[in-house]
Symmetry: C2
Subunit: 325 residues, 2 copies
Amino acid sequence: MTTQKGFDPHAFRAALGTFTTGVTIITTRAADGEMVGITANSFNSVSLNPPMVLWSLAKNARSLAIFSNAKHWNVHVLSVDQEELSGRFARQGEDKFAGLELDEGISKAPLLKQCTARFQCRTAFSYDGGDHVIFVGEVLAYDHSDLPPLAFQSGQYALTARKPREELRLGATPPPECNYTEDLLGYLLGRAHYQMLHALGQLLNTQALDERSFFILSVLSIRDRLSLEELNAFIAYTGMVASEESMAALEASQLVATESEDGVVRYVMTADGREASLRQIALAKAVEEDMADKLGAGDAMALKLLLKRLIASSDPGMPDLWSAR
Amino acid sequence: MTTQKGFDPHAFRAALGTFTTGVTIITTRAADGEMVGITANSFNSVSLNPPMVLWSLAKNARSLAIFSNAKHWNVHVLSVDQEELSGRFARQGEDKFAGLELDEGISKAPLLKQCTARFQCRTAFSYDGGDHVIFVGEVLAYDHSDLPPLAFQSGQYALTARKPREELRLGATPPPECNYTEDLLGYLLGRAHYQMLHALGQLLNTQALDERSFFILSVLSIRDRLSLEELNAFIAYTGMVASEESMAALEASQLVATESEDGVVRYVMTADGREASLRQIALAKAVEEDMADKLGAGDAMALKLLLKRLIASSDPGMPDLWSAR
């Protein structure tokens, strides 16, 4: 850590950006009826009684005169699904409100839908803040939904992973001095994966499919009519191998059938197999919904995002299961 | 979403809390030399030129008079490792600075170490903000480290998971209409797990251990001298079974030895086995560090946190590998 006394705006911005924020859109209506809205992360709460919030706007912003003259404005705390909207209101020169349905608010300021929270305000104070004006508004009405909020950190959108108040330990007791701890990512990924399979297995037990058969059917449900070699290319990353014997067992259960083409045997799903696979996916989604409920919707989204980033960064070159042939 | 016009402070706070923030500690020194510090999440940037930031303090705070009279104060953006410090500075009636090493700043205001970012400020304005005072400070010096920042949302501490600018798709092309998609948590967990094992396998290939042997040795490295039944209780969740034959193979490789006690055969690690296991763990940590580098330290922590929460909430009742006997 070295102290910067020079004010390179880029470096100063980078330091400020480490402070995580939510993302808001703030809207108002000009005297001539024009609707105005901008994306801002300078929002914050100020006062509980009277209820007040604040945000700041650059003095050179095109909308400064309109916000300065407006009595009312609305703050919308954006949800994770409103990233596109955030981008749209951060840009200039387009009709930002095109195609947006609006709610009826207590003032004429536009009130957007599907937000995490909304605060309808009347300007209480506007203060000098260097190259910005600080608007402090009295909150006249507010509402809030269960939609997980979008966050912003160091110039990137972000999701949040909430920490429980108590330290989260999987073991009932702290581990002794031991090199292999529950904090190893590999252990956590493995255990999470196997517990997920276990939960699914409990639901699948009428079908008595082993893990390998589950993977084989999953691949065939996405991409049918594969040779044994092609099939194995898709499941190789699991360390499992589909043999002719394992395929014969699936054939005997009438989940898979074979076709010959140019001397190559190709496996196709039967109607029964397709039905079994649809049932599996429905069960997998049920397990997943249950987990998402337990984690919370925003946290479940964050987990998926991080797993995707991990997979993308550690991909050993897997064939793309979903690509066109 | 229903609009609340009544101002139940609890409900209003809940709506405000949906706006994600970082966590700061703001410090100053009283005229009599007393050091003062409070935890605040009402911090925000205001102006780039001149560089200014703001935060607000309750008018009934014990420290209001001191901050109002102080010329200088420091804002510390806390890192994920400073959660304890956040709690300490949020409480009253203890010597908050006890045991803390301080850095030398440009004023006499205490400057804490190991933060994500720090801003050394001189009060530029203080404004009325309802039941709070808004302090606007000119930033005289600042610095920032690579430590991932702590976040706060809806009354809980949180970590952040950054979203890439572009939509993250694992497949090269969007999937066709298909029930089984790459967005299934079960798919993502499985693929992440197997890719991690694959990366480890690349490093382990001189040892030619299969996945089952890897799990068996991992368990024995934590908890030695297990009967076959006890061993299987610890790896049952993986769906794998340690048989007498698989143990005999590990014995033949001189990684494991047997002892008989009251007629029960117990498996113990040999010196070779322990060495192989230490090598495995070192390699697993190397794979993990590589992944953490690619994700970023804060994101890797968020991933582990979410996996732990998932595991804790879906635990089918596994025996505790690390507990005392």
